[in-house]
């Protein structure tokens, strides 16, 4: 909500948490917050890295660039320490930073990215993975996969693990490209249905 009246706080800061931040301990870091070294880096990283990795993968990062962005995210956070109110708030903050870094990276490389519906992304993420980094969803999805037909499983495996095209998958299963597309769409719809019933 862009036109919401601001709440009054000390040391109001309008900076974007992920970008345009002064580097190297300037700004509020040295004035009011304790030294960054007090933060339990290892604990913070281990708690949130999986969720961040999955979040960035959902944004479209490959595994390697996701790891790079995670590293940069935590380093940004360490440069500008914050209080942890709860895991959900911390996770949301980290995702915001990672998201901004992701956009900056895309802009630098002149790649177009989906940014206009960022609030919907956060809502969707909270729905599917908001409270446990997505572990329970992954586990449920794994179980739901086992309920699919052999053909559907094979098609999805070819698509995701071996990155085959629809035409290739159709050829291997003896169906048309359109048939392969339908098969995978039906399989994903079944997975969603199963997932929603499990996570209800």
């Amino acid at each position: 909500m862009s036109d919401f009246p601001p709440t009054q706080v000390a040391g109001s800061s309008m900076e974007d948490p992920g970008d345009n931040q002064p580097q190297g301990g300037s700004g509020p870091l040295n004035s009011s917050l304790p030294p960054s070294s007090e933060i339990n880096i290892v604990a913070l990283v281990r708690q949130h890295q999986v969720g961040l990795w999955r979040y960035l993968r959902a944004l479209g990062c490959d595994s390697t660039s996701a790891e790079d962005l995670i590293q940069e995210t935590f380093l940004r956070i360490l440069h500008r320490p914050f209080e942890q109110r709860n895991d959900a708030a911390t996770g949301a903050y980290l995702r915001r930073v990672a998201h901004n870094l992701f956009i900056s990276q895309r802009r630098r490389s002149n790649k177009i990215s989906l940014t206009e519906k960022a609030s919907e992304l956060e809502e969707s993420w909270t729905r599917w993975a908001g409270f446990d980094n997505g572990d329970s969803t992954i586990e449920a999805l794994r179980e739901c996969m086992g309920r699919l037909t052999e053909r559907a499983q094979l098609a999805l495996r070819k698509r995701f693990a071996e990155e085959h095209s629809r035409t290739e998958i159709g050829d291997e299963l003896g169906i048309s490209e359109h048939g392969a597309k339908n098969l995978m769409q039906r399989a994903k719809a079944q997975l969603r249905e199963c997932l929603e019933s499990k996570l209800k």
Binding site: G25, R54, K188
Partner: protein, 702 residues
């Protein structure tokens, strides 16, 4: 299912099928961090040796309460102290805000040295100022205050502190904080820029009166705020010479906390574990964790949604579920509550279609479902929940002499909300004159010149920063925890403890504003207080129904002096259901399964026939009690009794009398119940009508 859900699930699917899993980056990040630290920082600042606290003393928490376990070692901070010893709370500022610290001793030393330095600087400046009486006195003191309390006052950084002595006043008001007064307050989380608190500079309130920060806006710590609550009630007890019989044990406290905060009941194993935990701060720690849990967010969101909009038979359940989820997320992420309410009020109502399973706008649910021909339902909820007023009656007539509760004020509110089908609102005065309502904010400022479509948003903007909003929210929270508001919004109710409660309400509301309208934190304060840990006295509904008038007064007095805790049954019932249940007790006479729990101690009175847990005094009733008897419970004496007397003098038939006593047209079953009650009271219409009226009044005020 939107695009993002598809993308998220696709990426999860990819992870499962391709086996591409995230690796542990902690070492890599740590190395990078150390490298950059070396480049940017002086070598004299050591990198802390992070202790590997695998279990700590948190294991009990995960088993004691049914909430998702929190495995983050980052949350293993020192537990907070609890209300039993308020001074220990007071010594820990902002205990609810978890900041990760791995070297407490280092941190402590760091803060102590900083405090010492600041203290010396403050003393020097104060001496210089006093001796020289320089015109720069205010400036120097401001500087000291800002240095000592860098984040204590919630002011924008470019706004000078208007009351330099405010921190000193706060310290004085909280004797328990004396020892820690020279220490700088730990900084609060600056959540500007976080994804859940997007703030735009252009959105500053246009009314300078509203943007002005009160001079006493000093952020107290959680412990200090809890001490305020305890102190307020302790003063009342001292004033009326009553004392609680003691404090509840761990079992009852855990059950109460689990019920109120998490809507669950702990198992015997969990209770045993909790009892066995030898940690003086375990209650505070549990409260802290509970109010940060997902389950708490869900439960409170559900309750708030129920207050906002009652379920309808023909409503869209998916939309309601989406609305609850939206509110849950906002509570979990600690979105400032005024921002949430702003979104609710400024949303665009949507007319749900037949197949409209979801609109994609969960925040529109409230307005869309309450929208009637003129917006009366919305206005009544806005007034009771956020303006801390009960304006229902003002729709038809003035309430008392206050302009705030006049008929014109109600219709001005309605016009400001602008939810009706017509742009103009007219209301009928007593003499039959038709008058046009002027869209006005509750502070008297007219917004009639604002285009009709923008008035509600203007109202929402004003409301979000108004003190009455904070007071209304505190009252609502108190009601969700204790079953009744801290201060009754009924204008007729003027019981003798009101002044003290009103003062406490204002203090809590101010702190709620200062702490950025953090609902979870507000609940923490209320549940961390001594009234919450006061032993209960069970009063069955049968007791209530059979009580004499004087006994009822005693019960009500006890409720006023202590906090109420009557969440059972009536919370989910309407007044009709409550009445039927009460009357059923008349018939059954036994099996009192439904109990009304009152978190209150009995008054030292001889009128109660039931055994009293405290010793009865043989002395004659003290003056204060006589006085209390005269003035207490005016809603039964002054208002309700007068109403019943007036009714009895009229020529109304018995069903009509019952209708007026109940406040609604009675069903045939209710009439039958009223007849039974009349029979029980030996044909005493006055007693019967009074009881009917009290019963429905009690139920509707739950």
């Amino acid at each position: 299912m939107n695009d993002w859900s598809d993308r998220i699930l696709d990426s999860f699917l990819d992870e499962i099928i391709s086996g591409d899993t995230p690796s542990d980056l902690s070492d890599r990040i740590l190395d990078q961090w150390k490298l950059r630290q070396e480049q940017t920082r002086s070598a004299s600042v050591p990198i802390p040796n992070v202790p590997d606290d695998e279990q700590g003393d948190r294991s009990w928490w995960q088993q004691v309460v049914h909430v998702p376990p929190i495995d983050s070692p980052a949350t293993r901070q020192s537990p907070v102290n609890i209300a039993a010893n308020t001074s220990s709370w007071a010594s820990k500022s902002n205990s609810n805000s978890k900041r990760v610290e791995t070297q407490p001793s280092y941190s402590k030393r760091w803060r102590q040295s900083l405090a010492l330095t600041l203290g010396v600087v403050a003393c020097l400046l104060a001496i210089v100022s006093l001796v020289s009486v320089l015109p720069k006195f205010d400036l120097s003191e401001d500087t000291v205050a800002q240095n000592q309390y860098p984040n204590a006052a919630t002011k924008s950084s470019n706004q000078p502190i208007k009351t330099p002595t405010a921190p000193a006043v706060a310290a004085k008001e909280n004797p328990a904080n004396k020892e820690t007064a020279p220490l700088p307050r730990p900084e609060r989380l600056d959540i500007n820029g976080l994804p859940f608190a997007v703030v735009e500079p252009d959105a500053m309130p246009t009314n300078p009166e509203e943007s002005q920060t009160p001079s006493d806006d000093v952020a107290l710590s959680d412990g200090e705020i809890i001490a305020e609550i305890n102190g307020s009630f302790a003063t009342l007890w001292e004033q009326y010479k009553v004392q609680p019989t003691g404090a509840i044990d761990d079992k009852e406290w855990l059950e109460r906390t689990a019920s109120v905060l998490l809507n669950t009941k702990p198992t015997s194993t969990q209770i045993d574990l909790f009892k066995q935990t030898e940690d003086a701060n375990k209650r505070g720690y549990l409260l802290q964790q509970a109010t940060s849990s997902e389950r708490f967010s869900r439960f409170f969101a559900k309750q708030i949604v129920s207050l906002l909009v009652a379920p309808k038979q023909d409503e869209n359940p998916t939309w309601r579920a989406d609305f609850e989820l939206w509110l849950t997320q906002n509570i979990a992420q600690r979105t400032p509550y005024n921002e949430v309410v702003y979104k609710l009020l400024s949303a665009t109502p949507v007319t749900p279609g037949k197949d409209n399973t979801t609109t994609g706008r969960p925040e529109s649910f409230w307005l869309s479902h309450l929208r009637d021909s003129q917006g009366h339902q919305v206005a009544q909820r806005v007034s009771s929940l956020w303006l801390n007023q009960s304006l229902q009656c003002s729709q038809c007539h003035d309430q008392g002499d206050s302009a705030e509760t006049s008929q014109a004020a109600y219709w001005s509110l309605l016009a400001a909300l602008n939810l009706g089908d017509k742009p103009e609102y007219f209301f009928e005065l007593k003499d039959g004159t038709l008058k046009a309502a002027v869209a006005t904010l509750p502070n008297g400022k007219s917004i009639d010149s604002v285009p009709a479509e923008g008035r509600r948003e203007a109202f929402a903007k004003w409301l979000a920063t108004s003190p009455s909003f904070a007071e209304g929210t505190v009252n609502m929270t108190w009601r969700l925890v204790f079953g009744a508001p801290l201060v009754s919004t009924e204008t007729a109710v003027q019981e003798p403890t009101n002044a003290s409660r009103q003062k406490l309400l204002k203090t809590l509301a101010q702190q709620f504003r200062v702490h950025r309208y953090d609902l979870s934190r507000l609940v923490l304060w209320v549940t961390g207080s001594q009234p919450f840990a006061t032993p209960s006295r069970i009063i069955t509904q049968k007791d209530w129904l059979l009580a004499s008038e004087s006994e009822l007064r005693d019960i009500r007095n006890a409720e006023n002096l202590f906090a109420n805790y009557r969440r059972l049954v009536l919370l989910e019932d309407d007044s009709r259901g409550a009445l039927q249940k009460l009357v059923r007790y008349e018939r059954e006479e036994a099996g009192n399964k439904l109990k009304r729990t009152v978190l209150a101690q009995p008054m030292p009175t001889q009128s109660l026939s039931s055994p009293n847990p405290i010793n009865l005094s043989d002395e004659p009733l003290p003056a204060w009690q006589q006085n209390l008897r005269l003035h207490a419970s005016p809603d039964s004496d002054a208002t309700h009794q007068q109403l019943i007397d007036r009714l009895l003098k009229s020529k109304l038939t018995w069903p009509q009398l019952v209708q007026h006593a109940l406040g609604h047209e009675p069903s045939s079953q209710e009439l039958s119940s009223a007849d039974e009650l009349l029979q029980y009271h030996g044909g005493d219409k006055r007693a019967t009508l009074l009881k009917l009226h009290w019963t429905t009044h009690l139920a509707s005020s739950q």
